[in-house]
């Protein structure tokens, strides 16, 4: 393999693919990035066996061929080369090393054979649809924070992407929950997605997709099978296994009849929660909300350090109620809402509370209270 390309192109591609590589690997080749040069292009590929990212960049190919080299080492080398440099990649005749040459810098890296590199891409994808990158990103962004990290509840370790019917329309909906809170976001189902099976996209894949889908105007192609999802944007292709499990019936935990409605300025509320929780030593201490006619009093008590109280004017006309929430969870949801006014629908201090933007029904959040 012999290829020459611009440092900036190589760096951009390595930047995307090297993140997939786990820092510690028991299988040596998983530490490597695959390089394949042909037809005026260099294709880079990295995998952790569950997730694979490939990116293709233009290159001057003098001899077609492929090899694999340690991903972090190559990334660090290219990162340190001067801006605007040309990089030449050459495998030696015996197939033992790859030479990286740029200006007066010369590196020789040990390689492993291309044939040993695992391939995730095999298999048929029955469903294929296209949507705007910004839309796809928003679905994930608005739900990602609620993904569970509990290994025993592995089926909650991702975003549940599925199609629901709404009257005559179909919606593409994303749901995530960690058992304490639930986040749901949806868009009109893109053409071709209607027959998609419900799939659980793993947390790491969600994180990588967020980083890969950088340009908001781009079009994204999503392909789904029963076991894999493939997302293509321009020269970048991400293929990931799905979580093999059943997402629980989440509809049952979304309250329908909560009749105590609270409307509050989102920014003022988040700031007040942030201020009173300063007194809390532990992560996610309870903040108590006491709601009465037109007012909310937020209180945090920490027996070790003191207490904090703040009063907010709110739109509330129902029976007075006192309810506790994890302050971090309130802040997380506050950061996800988009409109100026947040709407809370409450039932009692032991039941789920519904939280939404006042002008956007497409995203909703359910939060379980704390007993204080």
């Amino acid at each position: 393999m012999r290829a020459t390309l611009e440092r900036s192109n190589l760096l951009k591609a390595l930047n995307h693919v090297h993140r997939v590589v786990e820092r510690r690997n028991t299988i040596p080749i998983l530490s490597n990035v695959l390089l394949r040069a042909e037809d005026g292009r260099l294709r880079l590929k990295a995998t952790d066996l569950d997730l694979e990212v490939t990116e293709t960049v233009p290159a001057e190919v003098r001899a077609a061929g492929g090899t694999t080299v340690p991903a972090y080492t190559l990334y660090d080398i290219v990162r340190k080369l001067p801006d605007g440099a040309e990089v030449a990649l050459d495998t030696d005749a015996e197939g033992r090393t790859l030479t990286v040459q740029s200006g007066r810098s010369h590196f020789s890296l040990q390689i492993l054979p291309e044939a040993d590199f695992p391939d995730l891409t095999a298999g048929e994808f029955a469903v294929r649809f296209t949507l705007a990158a910004a839309q796809f990103r928003a679905l994930m962004e608005r739900t990602q924070f609620a993904i569970s990290t509990e290994e025993t509840r592995y089926y909650l370790n991702g975003i549940y992407l599925h199609i629901v019917a709404s009257g005559d329309d179909k919606l593409l909906r994303a749901v995530a929950t960690d058992g304490h809170r639930l986040a749901q976001a949806q868009i009109a189902a893109p053409a071709g997605s209607e027959a998609m099976p419900g799939v659980i996209v793993p947390r790491k894949t969600v994180g990588e997709l967020q980083k890969l889908l950088e340009s908001p105007d781009a079009e994204v192609t999503v392909e789904v099978s029963d076991t894999k999802i493939r997302v293509t944007e321009g020269d970048i292709v991400l293929t990931s296994k799905l979580i093999d499990g059943t997402f629980p019936d989440y509809v049952r935990v979304i309250p329908r009849g909560n009749d105590k409605v609270l409307k509050v300025d989102r920014g003022a509320f988040s700031e007040a929660v942030d201020r009173v929780s300063t007194i809390a030593s532990e992560r996610g201490r309870a903040v108590k909300l006491a709601l009465g006619e037109g007012r909310m009093v937020l209180t945090v008590n920490n027996p070790d350090s003191g207490s904090a109280t703040e009063e907010l004017g709110v739109d509330f006309a129902a029976e007075p109620i006192e309810i506790g929430f994890n302050s971090k969870y309130l802040l997380d949801i506050g950061a996800q809402l988009r409109s100026g006014t947040a709407v809370f629908k409450l039932a009692d201090p032991g039941s789920p509370t519904l939280i939404q933007d006042d002008d956007n029904p497409d995203a909703l959040y359910v939060l379980m209270p704390m007993r204080v």
Partner: protein, 414 residues
């Protein structure tokens, strides 16, 4: 090399000594606290081979003159506090590790009270004069060596280990004196001809590791060369909370261990809640009739503090432990320890998913109900005393062989 400033003070045969102090007729006689089981033995009884945990019948066979006393349990805590409190008059760096022993670091106190040896001698004299009990003290450069020195000093003695000759001192002693070497490890070491700490220190790394595993072998090798970086930590926050219950010799059946564990869980969980802690890891210890003990532990997804949930988790663990040892027909002790403690002042409820794994989740409907019951009970007990309210299953199922007072004291951190 730093100097020897760490004291380990340990009351001699504490429970038995208290009894002999309270009733001078017992002085100089072989006595045992307990009845069905020997909870503690005086030095005179130990000379006959009587040991704590031994069935009463066996103890009497060894020592026909053995005198059993039921024990003044109400006095033990007070006298233990008074004795350990003497250390506080010399240094603020006192780390109490149980009712009858503590570490103290007297570095920097020399200009006030004299050498560490002089301080140790004064501590012993004052405990003798003011509390009336014998206490042995070891003085050394590390905690481990100080503790060994106090064991060597017993009964009623003082041993100061000069840093210049500490390895010579340490290496002649039997391995059984080391922290972390119990009967099982001692037997394994004896099988390969290792009886002294020096022999253990000289053992090649590989063979020690093959024998005891990497973690234990590294720890013991460091201690055998007197490498012990641990500092005396006063006001140390609890890293674990536990309790144990001696049962005598009882059949290894659920009817025996379930009530005992529920009793312990009640104790441990209420102490967790009193400190606003919840525990992520639960460990149980089961001791068989021959005093060999095994432990089993589990780390949960969410930390727990409810009595009922802790009891269930512990009961499951003991059932697994016994299933692994089907040949053991009798047990003599059960213990529960909780660790990975997290500060939890309020209970985060779970969304009602009904996922089938909710039995061990504190935020489930059942978990939350238990939390409310426990909290209500804690408040009643705070006001009206521990006996005012309790779980019926505990009140009815209490095993009678061990006095309650001793159970209280037996709740040393595990």
């Amino acid at each position: 090399m730093s100097s020897a400033t760490i004291l380990h003070a340990d009351l001699d045969a504490f429970y038995a000594s208290v009894e002999q102090m309270l009733d001078p007729k017992l002085k100089g006689r072989p006595i045992a606290v307990g009845g069905g089981v020997v909870l503690a033995a005086s030095y005179e009884a130990k000379a006959f081979g009587v040991k704590g945990g031994m069935p009463g019948r066996q103890a009497r066979a060894l020592c026909p003159e053995l005198h059993f006393v039921t024990g003044h349990f109400d006095q033990y805590q007070r006298l233990g506090d008074a004795a350990i409190g003497v250390l506080n008059d010399f240094t603020p760096a006192v780390e109490r590790i149980s009712i009858d022993e503590a570490f103290a670091d007297v570095a920097g106190c020399e200009h006030l009270f004299g050498s560490p040896e002089a301080i140790a001698a004064r501590v012993r004299q004052r405990v003798r004069d003011e509390v009336g009990l014998p206490i042995s003290v070891g003085v050394a450069r590390t905690k481990h060596l100080a503790k060994i020195a106090s064991q060597v000093a017993k009964p009623d003695g003082l041993v100061v280990v000069d840093p210049a000759t500490e390895l010579a001192f340490l290496h002649d002693l039997p391995v059984g004196l080391m922290w972390g070497v119990g009967p099982a490890t001692r037997t394994r070491l004896a099988d390969v001809g290792v009886a002294t700490i020096g022999q253990l220190a000289a053992m090649p790394g590989n063979s020690l590791e093959a024998l005891l595993g990497p973690a234990a072998s590294n720890k013991l090798r460091a201690l055998a060369w007197n490498r012990d970086e641990r500092a005396v930590e006063s006001g140390r926050r609890a890293r674990s909370i536990g309790a144990q219950s001696a049962l005598g010799r009882k059949p290894a059946t659920e009817a025996v261990y379930r009530p005992a564990l529920l009793y312990l869980a009640d104790r441990v969980a209420s102490r967790l809640r009193a400190k606003s802690f919840a525990a992520r890891t639960v460990t149980v210890r089961v001791r068989f009739a021959d005093l060999r003990a095994i432990t089993r532990s589990v780390t949960l997804d969410k930390p727990i503090a409810a009595t009922g949930m802790l009891a269930e988790v512990a009961t499951d663990l003991v059932a697994v432990a016994l299933a692994d040892h089907p040949a053991e027909a009798f047990i003599s002790l059960v213990a529960i320890a909780t660790s990975h403690l997290e500060e939890v002042s309020a209970l985060q409820l779970d969304l009602p998913f009904d996922l089938g794994d909710e039995r061990r989740r504190p935020g489930s409907k059942r978990g939350a109900a238990r939390w409310l019951v426990d909290r209500a009970m804690d408040r009643v007990r705070e006001r009206f005393g521990r006996e005012a309210v309790g779980y019926a299953a505990i009140a009815l199922g209490r095993a009678a062989s061990v006095p309650d007072g001793f159970r209280e004291l037996a709740q040393r951190e595990l």
